[in-house]
């Protein structure tokens, strides 16, 4: 059958209308109406990964989380000497053992810790630590402390270990700002803020199916990087990729039976979106989320308690949601910050930029407990903690033992693994 383009636009729209599909996928489906039907019938069946596909959720605490007041060394007098106004009282600490305990805001993580679902890796850092937020964050995101790198550690993971995956949703950043972790010359990672706005056309403006079809077709013709001028190719490529991700996303079944109540915070919504995508069978292997507000140069006491509570409430709800969906064993959540803070508090009820800090890993399959050693509070490097565990050991373990990926090609060499998964 040789329809004219105009005929196609009209008939195509009518066909799609009967299938009840609208929005940006109309065009993507125009040559494959059957596969769309099949997919709808099996709730995105083709895109469903094998049940054992492990998933990593990275949580970035931006601003430099005070690790000492997160996992509190309440058994040491030197802690109370260094922090006359900021120290957490012994009776308020949520004890891990006789020496260490969680900040009182972390009741959810404490409960999960007691169930053996939280690994606390102590004293994580890297040699010659940098005190700049931006350089240190870049070091964590690129896993390259010694040079400026253009590629991110997760970008390299996607390149080396998910190369054969054609799913445009194989790695996703949820919310947040530009992030170097997914930087890659060849692999593209979409960034999603919310499901309902992640599409080409504004859902609030009512257009007929024919007009949507026309606009979408014109968009795809303009956003063909191979046919665009050199200068604008980057925009064409990113727009095309955003469109593909949006189409894939809106093809998901949308079945999310989750009943767990999440706190009313942006970060909790981000994690809930992760749960929705997981339960919708997006096939995503790595999610990246960010939460800010940790740069406590002044008035740390209230602020830190508040942001830790936000993190704790969201992660606890997320875990319980995953458990109710039967997904808790497929997901590992790793929580890091670009640096910890100085041992001694400053004169403003705050702490200045520091170095090593604990990194938390949460999940049904995680071997809970303490790993590494708590850095000495008295044997310091210019007022700062000395690290015990290189953060690349954590990355290496996550990629090789959890994601079953090619850790060596991501990190350039082998690192000692830690037995938390």
């Amino acid at each position: 059958m040789n329809m004219s383009r105009r005929e196609f636009l009209v008939k195509g729209a009518a066909l799609l209308a009967t299938l009840g599909i609208g929005g940006p996928l109309v065009l993507a489906d125009k040559y494959s109406g059957l596969s769309a039907q099949a997919a709808a019938g099996t709730e995105g069946g083709a895109a469903l990964p094998a049940v054992d596909s492990p998933v990593l959720v990275v949580v970035q605490l931006s601003g430099g989380n005070d690790g000492i007041n997160t996992v509190v060394p309440y058994g040491q007098g030197v802690y109370y000497d260094a922090r006359p106004t900021l120290a957490i009282k012994q009776q308020d600490v949520l004890a891990i053992n006789g020496e260490l305990g969680f900040h009182p805001s972390l009741s959810g993580l404490h409960a999960l810790y007691k169930q053996g679902k939280v690994a606390v890796i102590q004293g994580v850092g890297y040699p010659k630590p940098d005190h700049s937020h931006f350089r240190s964050m870049e070091i964590w995101q690129t896993a390259e402390p010694d040079k400026i790198s253009q590629s991110g550690w997760l970008g390299r993971y996607v390149e080396s270990s998910l190369a054969r995956e054609t799913n445009p949703l194989k790695a996703l950043q949820i919310g947040g700002d530009a992030n170097k972790a997914f930087n890659s010359e060849t692999a593209f990672t979409p960034v999603i803020q919310s499901l309902d706005t992640f599409q080409l056309l504004d859902a609030r403006i009512k257009l007929g199916a024919l007009e949507k079809n026309r606009l979408t077709e014109a968009f795809l013709a303009m956003y063909d990087p191979a046919k665009q001028l050199t200068q604008v190719r980057v925009a064409a490529r990113r727009g095309q990729e955003a469109y593909r991700a949006a189409s894939a996303l809106h093809k998901l079944s949308g079945a999310y039976p989750g009943k767990t109540e999440y706190p009313n915070t942006g970060f909790a919504k981000d994690l809930q979106l992760v749960a929705k995508l997981l339960s919708g069978g997006s096939g995503t292997r790595v999610y990246y989320t960010q939460v800010g507000g940790f740069d406590d140069h002044a008035n740390e006491k209230e602020q830190h308690a508040r942001v830790l509570k936000e993190v704790d409430g969201a992660i606890a709800a997320f875990y319980s949601d995953l458990a109710s969906l039967g997904l808790q064993d497929r997901v590992v959540t790793a929580v890091f910050s670009e640096f910890g803070r100085r041992v001694k508090e400053n004169g403003s009820g705050g702490t200045d930029h520091g170095t090593a800090a604990p990194l938390l890993v949460v999940g049904g399959r995680v071997q809970g407990g303490l790993y590494g050693e708590y850095p000495s509070l008295s044997n310091l490097d210019n007022g700062d903690l000395k690290y015990n565990v290189d953060f690349r050991s954590v990355y290496y373990t996550l990629i090789e033992d959890w994601l079953k990926g090619d850790a060596k090609s991501v990190l350039g060499k082998t690192y000692e693994k830690i037995a938390f998964v």
Partner: protein
Amino acid sequence: MGSVWTEREAAHLLRRAGFAAPADDVRASVTLGRKETVRRLVAGQRIADAGAKAAALAPLEELQADGKPLKADDIGDQQLYWLYRMANTDAPLAEKMTLFWHGHLTSSYRKVKDVAMMVKQNELFRSHALGNFKELMLVVGQDPAMMLWLDVNSNRKGKPNENYAREVMELFTLGIGHYTEQDIREAARAFTGWHVDRSSGEASYQPKQHDNGTKTILGETGAFDAKGVVDVLFEQKALPQFLARKLLRFFATDTPSDDWVEAVAADVSAQPTIGGVLEKLFNSDAFYDDAVQQCLVKTPAEYVAGWMRSLPLPLTRGYNAAMRKMGQELYMPPNVAGWTGGTSWLLSSWLLARYQFAESAAFRMNAAALTSPEFTPADKSSADAWLRQWSDRLGIGQLGPATSAALAAYAEDTFLHAKQTNTNGLRGFLHLLMVSPEAQMK
């Protein structure tokens, strides 16, 4: 000098130095020549209709959006008012540099939580926009919003807080690698003594809180105070290079060559004002190189203010929400380093937000304006004529063949052969032009 100066170069300059390249300004620039056009941009003088009296900006209180007057104590309305200024000013370069300083010497309402202070800082940047950088660095340390943003109140004799000292070196003047942790600790001591009163919003110097001991900063030793630190910073070779690179990345290209950075750094050192530096940059042939034209991604502010300038769109608070979804909230940079910029503006969710903004702007466009002679080509049956008329009118740069073909096909399908005026088709045409990859770039 055989420098090429056609509508293409003029439009490029206007998009980079301002927020839009409307057809009348482009034509006037070609007549005026490059040098005079640049001179007017730096001086803040009109390009087209120079004889006409400059259209004064309406004060905030006289403006309405969505049927309600703007309120000066509402941060959202102040965001909208700044967008209005960008779109309507006769001095777009000064406004552009105000935005540059806001992204460079950041402060955020999220921490400062005082609308008047944020607006006061904005006025400070506007008054120093094209002035002397050192003078700006001296006064910004006593700007109340900056002081609250970087904890200057907590920086007292015997109890230094390093926040301001660190960012002054790392982000405002020298860049990483050109100072040590010890320099920061010493500079923090030198900056002590300044205090801002939250209720009055005034900054004052309190000699008792100042540490007047000896400090060693970047190899120089003395009983430095705030001015003393700035003096030492402005003797560093890294400073002009740091600012030159940032200016080039803002105005010219994400990847300036080291030679170009050196050349502009020499101007930063030699020229008494930033206006002088930019005048040389905009008069250099390198700025008009083919590889430089259309190579930068528009910031959301440029994207929105640009359409506000070139289209008769009603003012709406919806612009604030749209800007947020595109990744840029005025008065609320994401962190102390400001917006990442460059191709990060093309994050998928931010890009989709631009497309949806374009759709709603085209949808809201007044039907009478859409069918007015300004938007109607002489040859109404030629898709090419429509395309040229509209892309000139909107000041979009060169359209590639893929975009032209897609738009022509759309016009064919909708309004080109319609017996009656097809406003919906015209809206779709406008929507697609605004969505085109070319329109994301400047």
